[in-house]
Symmetry: C2
Subunit: 232 residues, 2 copies
């Protein structure tokens, strides 16, 4: 059976990516990160998803990105709320974690090398890559080149592939794809700033994109919200 | 002043690399890793070196590579002793940590991005790249490409450069260079398998290469050894 390391945050995109890898016949090794986020809810969601969808293994690598600071997701910078679509679509957001995908893919590559997997799946998509430099197709291509020159497997002739099955899809298309594959998106977590009880805020960029995606897909979002944004 | 992130393990190579960066006029931000090594002596050496040579900052990122296993440096695999030069020179050693330089450079890149440094220094050299895939010039070049497409700085037009000033040098040439720059190599640590008191074993690949390098450079190694290999 073909083995793949799948990066799994527990959000809609990585969950759908995992479902696609499994549907394509890969034995999935899910990898999540505990990177000093403000909350553990994301990691719990990843665990639920990994269990329910059926991975061979799920590991959580504890890494400390806070020592570098520089992002609203790891620092004490306020998560922006109720931004318009134009604001969300333009420029690099304050929730950007420097070199995050480079670090995540480097860990995935280490694990892939240990278990002799030649495939890594990553749920980056069209929305991400308008804002995050390390979600663009050029970046993925450059990492794949790196993986093939920088590992034992690569220089011994294995062909390491980075799969990004969502890269051209919008959020609503991703949600449609998840629905097709029978994935329960109620297991997932997207909010950057959940309440103490773990409810999604409904107002950060991530919640707004998620809600809009479900609306456009004509599907109801199964998760509860502390406060759903009106009129968007 | 030009800023540079310098990867610093506290060994001869990274210490010499730091001295070169400083001599070339860079403000140095030294980065070490606590990656579940068997011993903390390496990190202590890095701290001594950073203090003595004069860095702007020295940070130690705690990362857990043990969750993947696969190397004598992080697993319970025996460190090989008294290997011949031919054995050391050929093939990928069991001390190889999967994707280690990819992970280290990814962290360096994150820090570089936060402090707006366009330079990263790494002490890989001709001896390393005969054995480790992620020390070869092709790998360094691939990482530099990645750094320029995968970061905010890169896409905004900054030119991120990965410097490997030792890449064509042998161990004895590196030791000669350090001596020229007035670096006290007595501060450094190289052994893969030190004694409880922190003495270098004198018999692992790293000690053997170090001792040979000093001998060929015609310089006495200032560090004490538990047991120095005879006749080599």
């Amino acid at each position: 059976m073909k083995r793949a390391v799948v990066l799994l945050s527990g959000g809609v995109d990585s969950t759908t990516t995992l479902a696609i890898a499994i549907a394509e016949g890969y034995e999935a090794y899910a990898l999540s990160f505990d990177y000093g986020q403000r909350h553990q809810i994301e990691i719990e969601a990843a665990g639920r998803v990994a269990n329910t969808l059926g991975t061979k293994e799920h590991r959580v690598a504890k890494i400390d990105l806070r020592i570098f600071g520089g992002s609203a997701l790891t620092d004490n910078i306020d998560v922006p709320k109720q931004r318009s679509e134009t604001e969300i679509a333009h420029g690099i957001p304050v929730t950007y974690v420097p070199a995050r995908n480079t670090i995540f893919l480097a860990y995935a590559l280490a694990w892939a090398e240990v278990i002799s997997a030649n495939h890594i799946f990553l749920g980056v998509n069209a929305i991400d890559y308008s804002g995050y430099p390390d979600c663009r197709p050029e970046f993925i291509k450059a990492f794949q080149t790196l993986a093939n020159v920088g590992t034992k497997a690569g220089i011994e002739g294995a062909r390491l592939q980075i799969h990004t099955p969502l890269i051209t899809l919008s959020k609503s298309e991703i949600i449609g794809k998840a629905s097709e594959l029978g994935v329960d998106l109620g297991l997932t977590h997207s909010c950057y700033d959940p309440s103490q009880e773990g409810l999604a805020c409904g107002q950060c960029d991530s919640c707004l994109l998620r809600l809009k995606g479900f609306r456009e897909a004509g599907i109801e979002d199964p998760i509860p919200y502390a406060k759903k944004s009106k009129g968007r």
